[in-house]
Symmetry: C2
Subunit: 198 residues, 2 copies
């Protein structure tokens, strides 16, 4: 009758995990919200953990083809891409807070801190997502160096630092439940630099 139970479970779980947490959201609640019965859930997903794996994949895809793809549009001048990244993070968090009253933060960062001491498979998956984003930042930096927009630097390490900064800013903003932290402090991402070691 319903169009697609599996994808409904998936997107519902993603929303709930994002706005609360993995541990805090039970299978029953996901089923209720997705208007699906327990039996159907376990028909599509062997376990809650496997659902989490699927959610990360799902989100990573949308992330990659969504605003990250836009932010890292190679038509844009490299340095602008970093501003775009911060802007996107800001507006996203702000919109979520305006609607739900709470800043959800970054799903990947949230999950990373929650599960990475308990589940190495989930941890590896999240590491891969982070690495992918870092690589996009690195490309941006390489472009910026190539176009002489910035001085040469260690693009991989600097990209890692920038990703860490982005996650840290979102963490702090979420703790204060105030997206303005992203807008005000975020742009400092451009000042981060790690020199190449010879």
């Amino acid at each position: 009758m319903e169009i697609d139970s599996r994808s409904r479970i998936l997107s519902t779980a993603r929303e709930l995990f994002h706005s609360r947490s993995y541990a805090d959201v039970g299978v029953k609640e996901i089923c209720d919200s997705a208007r699906v019965q327990k039996g159907s859930f376990y028909h599509f997903f062997p376990s809650k953990r496997d659902l989490a794996l699927a959610v990360i994949d799902d989100m990573a895809d949308e992330w990659a083809h969504g605003f990250v793809a836009e932010a890292f549009d190679r038509e844009l001048p490299p340095v602008e891409r970093l501003d775009y990244l911060i802007d996107a993070a800001y507006y996203w968090q702000k919109a979520a807070k305006d609607i739900e009253g709470r800043m959800p933060g970054c799903l990947f960062g949230n999950l990373a801190l929650e599960v990475s001491t308990r589940d190495d498979v989930l941890r590896a998956k999240l590491t891969a997502v982070f690495n992918k984003t870092r690589d996009q930042i690195r490309e941006t930096l390489d472009d910026a160096v190539a176009t002489l927009a910035i001085e040469p630097l260690d693009s991989e390490k600097t990209a890692t630092a920038m990703l860490a900064f982005l996650e840290g800013v979102i963490l702090l903003a979420k703790t204060r439940n105030d997206p303005e932290v992203v807008r005000i402090v975020g742009p400092a991402i451009k000042t981060l630099r790690i020199e190449t070691t010879h």
Copy 2:
């Protein structure tokens, strides 16, 4: 008979919350590890949540009088204090990983992401801890400016950015379960700058 049940509960809970998570560690497990009965637990703490509040206070105290106090020793040249901060974070995480096999990350950061969408009181307490640390970094920056070690900047915003970066680096390192991330990327904290707005 036993020396101090309350403090035993407190330190046990701190360790368990740090190495796993708030949600993942139950009251029973805390009691077992602290060799205390359920009833004694609820004699000292009205609820698990109140224990979390006490754990944050406890940790914040030790944090403030421990290596943070050392790192922010005003005898040290200001810029060195930032290096000391990164070093301390690195060695702490590395030691924990060598012993337990896992990087626990920052207790405050972990808790912040886990509970701040659910509990505003805990969130406020964690915000206060972060603000205190940010203020210590700000003092450091003000000292650095005063001694002409660095160019003038917006010390409060820059300090916020630095704290965010520290938390982000620890988050990323924890996700990779690799403290080296802190050592390699951490020192970039000194390159962060937010100019004063006139």
